[in-house]
């Protein structure tokens, strides 16, 4: 692992120890398998301990881990015959949102998701997963295509927010997101949305209206990133940990507040620790949800989707 967090220090220490023992064993040809096994066991328990008691801010950090799988990697792990489709037919092709038809477990679906880059150059190419209006309009075009051919839609959400740029404003960032919210709420095919990393604000919600909105265990979803929340409410970035707690942005909190429909567990150590296993878990869950949704007629599905979102919010009468 190239990136580890402060809170993973005990894990890093153990890994270092294991490495040392291995080196010694190799050099001296002494059998150290007993010690190694003990250390590995210790590593597992430490990892379990740390990962079952993560704070909001720690989850935000994990959700941004550079080795976490992104949309295209999930598609590769879960689907066959992916045909990527490009362009919004108006302005250009947004690289921060990808999508296309693919086959999952033998059935055709439309998969759409935010895409981040895996190295510095690609991160810039993908605009760090921050979509412009074209991205949301491409997503809507693909969803309408799916609706036309009666194929379910799966969206994978992972964005630090919609891009706050000059051209984005000129081309109607607000309108593009708003239009998607309206159209997705009445789309006449099943829609499953999964927050796989960062779920920041309107940029996330813009492809996030579904019959099942799920979150990976260490992802986050809220109205604003903790840093920006801190900047606005405390006028400094120093309160980001506190903001992360206040925003109740973890999957557990979101489920408790009934703002999402379920949580998908991640492998111990996070999705980046075992991407293949994560891909398997996600695929199985999506297939289960699809099977459930396919049993209902589409009018019921759409009505339930609208009613679900309309029930969100807490007021005093």
């Amino acid at each position: 692992m190239t990136t580890s967090f402060d809170f993973e220090k005990p894990i890093a220490d153990l890994l270092q120890q294991i490495e040392k023992v291995q080196q010694i064993a190799e050099k001296t040809k002494v059998d150290m398998s007993g010690t190694l096994e003990e250390l590995n066991q210790q590593l597992n328990t430490t990892r379990e301990q740390i990962y079952s008691n993560l704070t909001g801010w720690q989850k935000v950090q994990i959700s941004r881990h550079p080795e976490r799988p992104y949309t295209l990697q999930y598609i590769e792990m879960m689907c066959q015959d992916f045909i990527e489709l490009h362009g919004d037919r108006t302005v250009k092709d947004d690289k921060a949102i990808v999508g296309g038809f693919a086959s999952i477990g033998g059935q055709t679906v439309m998969v759409i998701g935010h895409q981040k880059g895996t190295n510095t150059k690609l991160r810039q190419f993908r605009n760090f997963g921050m979509a412009n209006p074209e991205g949301y309009r491409k997503a809507l075009r693909l969803m309408k295509l799916a609706e036309k051919f009666n194929k379910p839609v799966i969206t994978l959400i992972d964005t630090p927010g919609a891009f706050p740029g000059l051209e984005a404003e000129e081309r109607g960032q607000g309108e593009a997101i708003a239009r998607n919210l309206l159209e997705m709420s009445v789309l006449r095919v099943p829609v499953i949305c999964v927050v796989i990393g960062e779920g920041a604000s309107g940029g996330a919600l813009g492809i996030g209206i579904g019959d099942k909105v799920l979150m990976l265990e260490h992802s986050w979803y809220s109205v604003i990133s903790p840093e920006n929340c801190s900047a606005i409410l405390w006028r400094t970035w120093d309160f980001k940990e506190r903001a992360a707690e206040c925003l109740k942005l973890t999957a557990d909190d979101m489920l408790k507040n009934r703002l999402i429909d379920g949580i998908i567990p991640e492998p111990l150590g996070g999705a980046h620790y075992n991407p293949a296993m994560m891909g398997g878990i996600l695929k199985e869950r999506i297939l289960n949800e699809l099977a459930e949704l396919k049993n209902k007629d589409i009018d019921t599905v759409v009505t339930e989707r609208i009613n679900k979102f309309c029930a969100m919010g807490v007021v005093v009468e």
Binding site: A178, L205, V314
Partner: protein, 288 residues
């Protein structure tokens, strides 16, 4: 030169000091005069009201609240307020520099409003209309659960009673103290508007200064017609954030109503003094 010897009687004081007793003192009430924020010229309150809160020197549209918009648009200022009892809860026990519950109580005391939106049913030039109007004075016109719920219920009311809907936006965006609850109001209002659209009931979205963030990215941009007051700030991201992102100065007039109209996201800009006529005639065209 002759020495000046005339006694300058008019400079002489007969009575010394201030002798008017406090209770006889005549005071100009506060707020009778204020300054136009744009041209800085003094405006008299009565003239402002008469001119629909538009500066008669430079046509600047002063920021007003739901009471003023209702008076401006409803015939004889007669209307029935809808869902006026809704108030914010504190589902997340949010505390920043102040408790959210205290913030709400203070805002209610300061503004006399229950939350950042009011809705009412009345008539505009004899035709039925439901108007929901945001109040910027209430925590920056931020959209929390109450704003979403009131809009949702107003839309239900419009569908049931077949009445056109006018929504006047004036907001900095989502209410951070309700975090994801606030975010989901975007989804909720958009879903309701889909139903209003299906029922083929006209929806006019009027954007006023300022309309930004989650409000722009949901109901404000979803009107059958989107209209705006002149020179209002309208955008998704705030100008400061954009400036920091692109590290360049923003062009003059960026994110104004005129800019948004030019880029194709508004149908027209309406002067406040013409507003009632224009809206009433649109509704009349739809009704007949």
């Amino acid at each position: 030169m002759q020495p000046y010897s005339i006694e300058m009687a008019w400079f002489k004081r007969d009575k010394k000091g201030i002798i008017t007793s406090t209770q006889d003192k005549k005071e100009a009430p506060d707020g009778i005069w204020n300054k136009c924020p744009q041209c800085k010229k003094p405006l008299h309150y009565a003239e402002q009201v008469e001119n629909n809160y538009v500066c008669h020197y430079c046509n600047f549209h002063l920021r007003i609240g739901s009471a003023e918009y209702f008076a401006l648009l409803f015939d004889n200022n007669e209307y029935t307020e809808l869902y006026g009892n809704l108030m914010s809860a504190d589902p997340l026990n949010f505390v920043d520099t102040k408790k959210y519950t205290e913030r709400i109580i203070d805002s209610i005391a300061k503004t006399g409003l229950k939350d950042a939106i009011r809705a009412a049913h009345g008539k505009i030039k004899g035709q039925d209309i439901v108007i929901a109007c945001m109040d910027f004075n209430f925590i920056g016109g931020s959209m929390g659960s109450v704003v979403g719920e009131k809009i949702a219920r107003s839309i239900n009311y419009c569908i049931e009673n077949k009445v056109p809907f006018l929504l006047i936006s004036k907001s900095g965006g989502a209410r951070m103290m309700e975090a994801a609850f606030s975010l989901m109001q975007m989804a909720k209002t958009a879903a309701k508007l889909a139903l209003l659209s299906r029922a083929k009931i006209p929806y006019i979205s009027l954007l006023t200064d300022p309309t930004t963030g989650g409000v722009t990215a949901s109901y404000a941009m979803l009107g059958d017609i989107n209209i705006a007051e002149p020179e209002a700030l309208i955008g998704f991201a705030g100008p400061r954030v954009i400036k920091e992102t692109i590290k360049k100065d923003l062009p003059k007039g960026f994110q104004t109503s005129e800019f948004v109209l030019e880029h194709g996201f508004l149908d027209f800009i309406v002067d406040r003094r013409e507003m009632k006529n224009r809206i009433a005639s649109f509704i009349s065209l739809m009704n007949n």
